[in-house]
Symmetry: C2
Subunit: 209 residues, 2 copies
């Protein structure tokens, strides 16, 4: 049996003490993956941004807030894991400058300069040992297959799960599984738990055994 | 007994189909106010952004997503109410342009032009009938009392609740109640339900009876 790291939920990048930029992500897919992995007898560590969902009691859950925190905790925990599934939707832009006091409204437009945050899955993919594996998620609104393959290569993933915006905040999901060579392996749809079981089955067969 | 409109929780302003700007707000203060008002025998309508909290079953709850939606629903419901409490933290900036497809990362900074959203409480305050009242919330990180008074006047509120960033996502709160003349009426601290009961007591004594 394997020890699996699952990143889940959104992260937040604050502009000031009250306003922040984030991604729509409920953590439901991460919770479903944790349940599916536990059901197969694996050990699970979830690194999660702020969510309303409850993770399975048998999973170890570590809460984080920002993308940088998610990266640091995931990278640290990954050392003791056999593989990682990046189901989180980390906020990928952050304000160049974070204000310590609440920005006051002036009636005028506000120009916000954003820079990219570090990529959590790409970092795990780059740094993985030869005995470790990384499964990424790609959520795209257009050119899904092409963009998922580009991300797969760029992030050094062993498997990529491609889904669309319908997945967000939904109880259902519909995904394509793409292997390290960019080949479409399988299409899975159903409840997020059904989809999670399908993904874990492929991980079990191709990456763990 | 009165019919009270309570706005609660955050709203979201999307940049594209997955990323959005929002305010840190759990909806707990709104839920506590709804409970306190119901306990005094009032009727309650909650207009709420996306939250994890559960509102009292006896309250009518209307879900909204954006600030514009909150404004429209709150304004419509307010017609049938005696007063409104603006406990929501509506997102007060929105992107000048909303992309229909997910913005792709390029490795370069992203400049975001934000404009102010309409002010929900100020709109209710401006349009209230002479027999209606509006209670606002001001969350400030500095010059709390001064800024709360400025907001009180600008938003035509009958009462202003001033609190600090410690209130966010917390089970506790500490507030100053300021009357329409800018005078500090009371300081209340404790659990959010204790604070809500204190606020409703003042509303009952000064605005309803």
């Amino acid at each position: 049996m394997a020890k699996i790291l699952i990143t889940s939920g959104p992260t937040r990048q604050y502009l000031d003490p009250v306003r922040y930029l984030t991604n729509a992500s409920s953590g439901r897919m991460g919770a479903a993956l944790a349940q599916a992995a536990l059901d197969l007898g694996h050990q699970v560590v979830v690194v999660s941004g702020p969510v309303g969902v409850t993770y399975p009691a048998a999973a170890e859950v570590i809460d984080v807030l920002t993308t940088q925190e998610m990266l640091e905790v995931a990278h640290r925990e990954f050392q003791q894991c056999d593989g990682a599934i990046g189901a989180a939707a980390p906020c990928d832009y952050q304000p160049q400058q974070v204000e310590t006091e609440k920005i006051s409204k002036t009636g005028k437009p506000l120009q916000l300069n954003l820079v990219e945050t570090p990529d959590v899955v790409a970092t795990l993919g780059e740094r993985k040992r030869s005995d470790q594996w990384v499964v990424g998620f790609a959520l795209e609104t257009q050119d899904r297959h092409f963009r998922a393959i580009v991300k797969l290569e760029k992030k050094h993933c062993d498997l990529m799960v491609s889904n669309g915006p319908e997945a967000i905040d939904s109880a259902e999901n519909q995904v394509d599984l793409i292997d390290a060579e960019g080949q479409l392996l399988e299409q899975i749809s159903g409840s997020k738990l059904d989809v999670a079981r399908g993904i874990l089955k492929v991980i079990d067969a191709r990456l763990i055994r």
